[in-house]
Amino acid sequence: MQKPTSLPKPPVIVSPKSFLAWIGKAFLILLAIYVTYILISNLIQNPGLFLTNIINGLQMGFVYALIALGYTMVYGIVKLINFAHGDVFMVGAFVSYFAIDRFQLQLWPSSVFPDVDPNLSIVVGTITTILLSMLVCVLLAVTIERVAYKPLRDAPRIAALITAIGVSFFLEYFGLLDFVFSARFIPYQRPFEVVTWYFSNGIHLLEAGESLPEGSITVSNILIFIVLATLAVLLFLQFLVKRTKIGIAMRASSFDKPTARLMGIEVDRVISFTFAIGAAFAALGGVLYAIAYPSIRTLMGVYPGLKAFVAAVLGGIGSIPGAFVGALIMGQAESMTASYISTPMRDAIAFSILIIVLLVRPTGIFGEPEREKA
């Protein structure tokens, strides 16, 4: 007779309420408590510094939002991490640098019409400079899309990704050559003067050479400019995507390309348009970034580009409000880490937040659940 063999033990199914399932949650909760503790203790210790950090984070976050919009739209439609986007951002900053430094473009209204109001002249000149950067970047992005990405529309996804990396490398290393942008840090001349206000028993204008009172918070016109420009772009984009014909075409193409094509949408044109509009915002972001942190170099687009992509993923890729919220979170995380933990660790914290958020919500904060693919 055959010996009765012992059956393998049946697997134990961990119920979501059991102790084992709670270990992970407890880990996250402990982490959250620790972060809250750091933040609150610093807020109590020095509220002025805390608010300054929030303002710095906002400035950073709004610029990231401008870049993240391009990433999220392009990824939403072609499912491609457009690594060259950060370099388009860099080109935007450099175009404005050359326009200002070599051609004094920000002063053109007063040099053409000498009796125009100087303030109006600066406003018009700055806007012209930004428009010029946007135009150049749009042309660049559409060229990249036509030359490099379009032939690979039907190739494996990795081929397109490698091409994107290749384009990004080309822009970077070409820019690093001495006769192009060179590898140096270049001081950026702002198109307008910085005006700073501080809050200390009311709002005061900070005069040149005046020292700040203890514990006061400063706000500059750069921050206001960045916030207004970004909000305008967001509203414009929401209107474009929700109300106009091309916006509907964009949403249709991102939802289901073959069907969109059957409905008479020229998907290739929509994709080009998406790249163009993303590049325009990246150029705007580049100019604003250079104005806010006036030192530019060829590799300046690498980290902001990556962080903006992380912000887009954080908010839920493909979602415009998501990109905005994600970028704000990234900005805050970065300025808080730099101030309270350690400056070099801010990149690490940014990516850790991404990983934790994705573990809890795999499609990002505003992301829609993945559709089942047929």
Binding site: K9, P11, V12, I13, V14, P16, L20, A21, W22, I23, G24, K25, A26, F27, V78, K79, L80, I81, A148, P151, L152, R153, D154, A155, P156, R157, I158, A159, A160, L161, I162, T163, I165, G166, V167, F169, F170, E172, Y173, F174, L176, L177, D178, L306, F309, V310, V313, S342, P344, M345, D347, A348, A350, F351, S352, L354, I355, L358, L359, P362
Partner: protein, 460 residues
């Protein structure tokens, strides 16, 4: 055409021909022959002999015969670099090419391996054995702890990833703490034998140093593998592009830590962003070749085993693989850990070849190189990866540097402008890579024909 350009071109072709010859001999099937009345299969011996001969030929070419040396020091350096690049790229090909997990973290594990191994030998030659004892005890203990926890958790289903990650993290952390104390207790017994920096003791040189070097490289590889296990456990569940961006983040975090080894991390001898100097240059052709062949043989045998088949099946179709009873998450983790192990070993060899580690060499921009290499060579092709790694180093570092160096002294920077263009052209003309998924000689796998849609991946 200048003679030196021609010469370096010839060298590149010879090296690639050498590789193909090597793997041809290693895969040779002679059949049985009669030897003293008995039928003996000598294929295995011929294959082994081929590998030894492959080592010997290059070793001879490196040796000086009365002032004549076939390969100069520049070429030897290229060979070492190519060996390490092969190890790193093969690891990535296991993760991405064979298992389909788009990873950009390979360069981070390479860096971890390089720094860990360099620290061991650096401390050893400076009369401090703590590097070896702490790292050795640490990786062994952590490995045992991870295996034990894995045994304990193996019978649980629907365990949340975060929970098991927390358990592993706590276990490994405890192991690390124990290792630091145990290593510090053990070290003073060996320290007197090492002497000081100025007067090295008996164990600081010669055979003892070689043993420490090999142990250091192996421990560094396992260290990278353990880190990849802890990192991969939660992150592999994220899915393709998210996994890619998270691993890219890992590379950036490792880079940031390297820049701050002396401020955030407690390793003043690594000197942060200024770079670690004084690493003994112990890499010889013997070790570089041995470790490279080890990686190739291990990977080839894994791919021919049932684990390899499940790794490939996960790439082809996860749902189908799961329904066949394959542990998809475990398989992904296995390939990720082994790939990182290879990267860590490669890092150890590289550190002892170059003798100087600076964080700039582990920047994520350079970290795209292995990815580009495996795509060049063909995803899911070991032959392609090895050829592309050697070709890459000899082309980019060899030929282009020579060619452009003759035009003007600044011109070598142009090679990084040229190579994206080559890359773009290759992607436009032949997106599946130079060799597709062709294998050669020893590396031939029992082929499983790819389903067209799976082989091309998800279309955009």
């Amino acid at each position: 055409m200048d003679s030196s350009i021609l010469l370096s071109l010839v060298k590149m072709i010879v090296v690639i021909a050498y590789l193909f010859g090597l793997f041809w001999v290693m895969g040779l099937k002679v059949g049985k022959i009669t030897l003293g009345g008995k039928k003996v299969d000598i294929s295995r011996w011929i294959n082994l002999l081929g590998a030894v001969a492959g080592f010997g030929i290059v070793q001879l070419a490196m040796t000086k015969f009365g002032g004549f040396q076939l390969l100069n020091n520049f070429d030897i350096g290229l060979l070492y670099q190519a060996c390490t690049m092969t190890m790193v790229a093969l690891g990535l090909n296991l993760i991405y090419g064979f298992n389909g997990q788009f990873s950009l973290g390979q360069w981070g594990f390479y860096g971890i391996g390089a720094y860990a191994a360099a620290d061991v030998t650096f401390r050893w030659t400076n009369g401090d054995s703590r590097g070896l004892t702490v790292l050795g005890i640490g990786v062994i203990l952590a490995g045992v702890v991870i295996l034990l926890i894995g045994r304990l958790l193996s019978n649980l289903r629907r365990m949340p990833v975060l929970s098991s990650f927390t358990i592993y993290l706590v276990g490994t952390g405890l192991a690390a703490v124990v290792a630091v104390f145990a290593g510090k207790l053990l070290a003073p017994m060996i320290d007197p034998l090492l002497g000081t920096n100025l007067a090295p003791g008996p164990l600081a040189q010669g055979a003892a140093l070689q043993v420490v070097f090999v142990l250091g490289v192996i421990f560094a590889g396992i260290f990278a593998a353990i880190i990849s296990f802890l990192f991969g456990l939660p992150v592999l569940s994220l899915g393709s592009d998210y996994f890619g961006i998270a691993t890219l983040g890992f590379t950036i975090v490792v880079y940031t830590l390297m820049v701050n080894t002396d401020t955030i991390l407690p390793f003043p001898e690594m000197r942060g962003g200024r770079g670690m100097i004084g690493i003994p240059k112990l890499t010889t052709w013997f070790w570089a070749f041995l470790f490279m062949m080890l990686v190739i043989v291990i990977m080839r045998n894994i791919l021919r085993s049932s684990h390899g088949r499940s790794i490939i099946s996960v790439r082809e179709d996860e749902t189908a693989a799961r329904s066949m009873g394959i542990d998809v998450a475990g398989t992904k983790l296995l390939s990720f850990v082994i790939g990182s192990l290879f990267a860590g070993l490669g890092g150890g060899i590289y550190a002892h070849y170059i003798g100087f580690l600076s964080p700039g060499a582990f920047d994520f921009l350079i970290g795209f190189n292995p990815l580009i290499i495996i795509v060049f060579g063909g995803l899911g092709s070991m032959t392609g990866t090895i050829t592309a790694s050697f070709g890459w180093i000899f082309f980019l570092e060899g030929i282009l540097r020579v060619v452009l160096g003759q035009i003007s002294p600044e011109a070598p920077t142009w090679r990084y402008v040229l190579y994206p263009i080559v890359l773009l052209l290759l992607m436009l003309v032949r997106p599946q890579g130079l060799l597709g998924n062709v294998e050669w000689g020893y590396l031939k796998l029992p082929r499983i024909p790819l389903r067209k849609s799976a082989a091309e991946g998800e279309k955009a």
